[in-house]
Symmetry: C2
């Protein structure tokens, strides 16, 4: 890289064609993604109440009006954050499900993965939850790989006679249990028992190990 009196600008514009712009040219390159990432950063650093559109723009190093070229309004940005969150969660669940044998182990593994995601991304998880509320359906793409589907599939493998209603109830029960623990995982009130059973993840595992969502599900 050669610096000449006019070289800086020139160099940068070359760079922005080959790699992601670093010294930030006028056009950002992928502001949409950058805004979502900034929102996630802000959420986990400051909590959901600190997430304003202006703050996100600030965090992304861009003017307050810039996001409006990529999102209709604030809620559309939040939806995008939630969508990305679901994709990450679904991927985490899918990989947790891989190396387990019994249905019960699969369910525990799914539950622990779910809760760990929520523990590591509590504010994003909250945004995901809020954006699911009042929504008849998630996007089709999410539905196919979704948490609900993954839990139901795991359950289905373990249920002998496929009782449709029972399966839905069991899936809902499992999902509710996971959501409940996900939200409460960081309650200070659990500090003592976490220590007693040997750490947070052991606590999660113990909880899910205690639960049965099918009346006839065998104990371990």
């Amino acid at each position: 890289m050669i610096f000449t009196p006019l070289g800086y600008r020139f160099t940068v514009s070359i760079m922005s064609e080959t790699a992601t712009a670093e010294a930030r040219p006028y056009h950002h390159g992928d502001l949409r993604r950058a805004l979502i990432a900034a929102a996630r950063r802000l959420l986990e650093a400051e909590g959901p109440s600190a997430l304003s559109l202006r703050a996100v723009a600030r965090e992304a190093g861009v003017s307050p009006a810039a996001p409006y070229h990529h999102f209709k309004d604030k809620s559309e940005l939040l939806d995008a954050v939630a969508h990305e969150g679901w994709e990450m969660l679904n991927a985490a669940l899918a990989s947790a499900r891989v190396d387990t044998q019994s249905t019960h182990d699969k369910l525990v593994a799914l539950g622990v993965a779910y809760v760990c995601f929520a523990r590591d991304n509590p504010s994003v998880y909250r945004v995901m939850y809020n954006s699911s509320r009042d929504r008849e359906d998630l996007s089709p793409a999410l539905k196919e790989t979704g948490a609900y589907r993954q839990v139901r599939d795991a359950l289905m493998a373990g249920a002998d006679p496929v009782d449709h209603v029972g399966l839905e109830l069991a899936t809902s029960a499992a999902w509710c249990a996971a959501h409940g623990l996900a939200e409460m995982a960081s309650f200070r009130q659990f500090d003592q028992i976490k220590a007693t059973v040997g750490g947070e993840e052991a606590f999660f595992r113990g909880l899910f190990g205690h639960m049965r969502v099918f009346p006839d599900e065998p104990a371990e």
Copy 2:
């Protein structure tokens, strides 16, 4: 009650000594309670995001500065709303527990009561949840009659050898499940299955009926 040219004011001031003031004299009488009630009304009518101190004062028919004679700041008002919510919830649980025999029935009854409270007071429930977060302990009075305690007592009656850690895990599991369902109870995604099993409360009952928090808990 006699109306004279000067009578109105006089009558009111008499009234305020005998009954709760209705035509509202200068001094309110019990603004603290009125503010909490106004907050609950606002919460359930407009949702948590609409709850500002100014709005609460407005709803109570009082100037924006008035609440500061009763609460240090906004968060202290929210704490009071949460506290009242816990009292109501605890009372609902206590009365649900009364006329059931088996441990399993008791647990289902507790779970259904818990979830119905959250369904009927979703925004207050959210405030309660938020105010519990990051708090090592609730107030001692709440603890004694609290949800956790009631669930644990119900479980204890059913567990033969009292395994302390197991009991705590089971209580936590039950609480998480209840919280999870409480939060998700109104999800549109459950509309279909609710209809299938015969209504919302049947859905709740079905879910809790499906769950076991003790591995060896007998099926119904």
